[in-house]
Symmetry: C2
Subunit: 277 residues, 2 copies
Amino acid sequence: MTDEATAFVPGHVTGFFSAHSHDDPLQAGSRGAGLTLSHGVEVTVEPSDGTDSTTTLDGDPVEMPPVERVLAGLGVDAAVRAETELPLGAGFGVSGAMALGTALAANTVFGCARSENELVALAHAAEVRSGTGLGDVVAQARGGMPVRLDPGAPDHGRLDGVPARPDIEYVTFGELSTEEVLSGDTDRLSAAGEDALALLAEEPTPAQFMYASRRFAREAGLLTDEVTETIRAVSEAGGEASMAMLGRTVFALGTGLSDAGYDAVSCRTHPAGATLR
Amino acid sequence: MTDEATAFVPGHVTGFFSAHSHDDPLQAGSRGAGLTLSHGVEVTVEPSDGTDSTTTLDGDPVEMPPVERVLAGLGVDAAVRAETELPLGAGFGVSGAMALGTALAANTVFGCARSENELVALAHAAEVRSGTGLGDVVAQARGGMPVRLDPGAPDHGRLDGVPARPDIEYVTFGELSTEEVLSGDTDRLSAAGEDALALLAEEPTPAQFMYASRRFAREAGLLTDEVTETIRAVSEAGGEASMAMLGRTVFALGTGLSDAGYDAVSCRTHPAGATLR
């Protein structure tokens, strides 16, 4: 047992997806595609005696069911500290990142001797059971621009990727409840997601990803007014933008948002999946 | 079409493997495990008019059949420049790195619109057909400490990983022909490789990987005198070392080789797979 361990997990913005429920959380998940970001979550785990097993995000205690499920799955008591520049609940996969980072770091601290796939599966199942996400964890484990060909954890899901690393800008207008959207009727959303995935398969490039994502955002009926307006403004300035699923967040290729006059945060597509520091 | 593109592909040291031949090169390959290295190959591709389609390695023209097969598979004429601190033919997967880096960079330069899996499959098949490697490419596409559960390209092979990023040292005594070893009788080697993979599955940790690799190196009958002596010296100094497959190279965890008095090169387990710069 070491004193503590830290993992970095990239943020993940989903452009489009279809939801696939299953009684087995390892087989439940989503198909779709997204971008992992060089902005992510740094998760540090240290042993706890059970009385101080709190989870903090940027110093503040948080309720984070996926993290608790991961620790329970490993059978350990730990304090989890997460630091991130990304907003929570805005479509950046922060809860998935915390679950996956906890799995990787706790495995090291407590010498659990699990494999990477086992740790990804544990974090994926924890997210699905908590209703906080369906595909962020497997995407964050891969890095780059992950394409989820089949839903589920590593033994079930299949991934591909768009071989490119565009610069990214984003702007956030606030939260959107993943749990609320996913617990509602997802048929229309999923049909649009399947169409978008077929479009991307024809031409796996960043431009086609943005086109398929915009089409999905419109057809899935999740657009808010400020998001619609921002995407249009980027487009009029000659750029490519879409909505982060699920958040009131717009992301753009290159300098699309600042070219359109927005005060955007800039980062890059992350080259790697989640990794121990 | 852009002017040029560059990809970085980590070096890859295989600790143990079993060889699996198949008429379809996408299904041929190896099972086994290894380490990707922060030392790797930087591959730059630019268009050529057919008269200057040379491949260079550290400035010198080289014959590199896997690279030529990748370019032919994409249907493009290109000049390929590779730069590396790793020695060729010493078990670091330099030919696989050149094939994979060429695939990623050429796809960008020529706008081929292939997916990541398609590019990895192309490079894997090029290596297998050239007889220069069986598993480096898929391992180099993943990064970390890749475990090849099943042989073959992405649609066929399955990967897992050891979730750790140890510091690594290596020392090289010279070349060993991959083609020669793989074209000989590989039954004994493959039986030892299957045993080693089972050992690692029991406990996917760096220490167990080194133990399984040493056992494989002995049983496969590939050890040379200087390699045997070096592994023993590291062990006597309290460290963990084994032989890079296939090369007259010894790699060690942490500072194992310098602790034993060797003038070793040091690097780290690379966190990511091959990536565009």
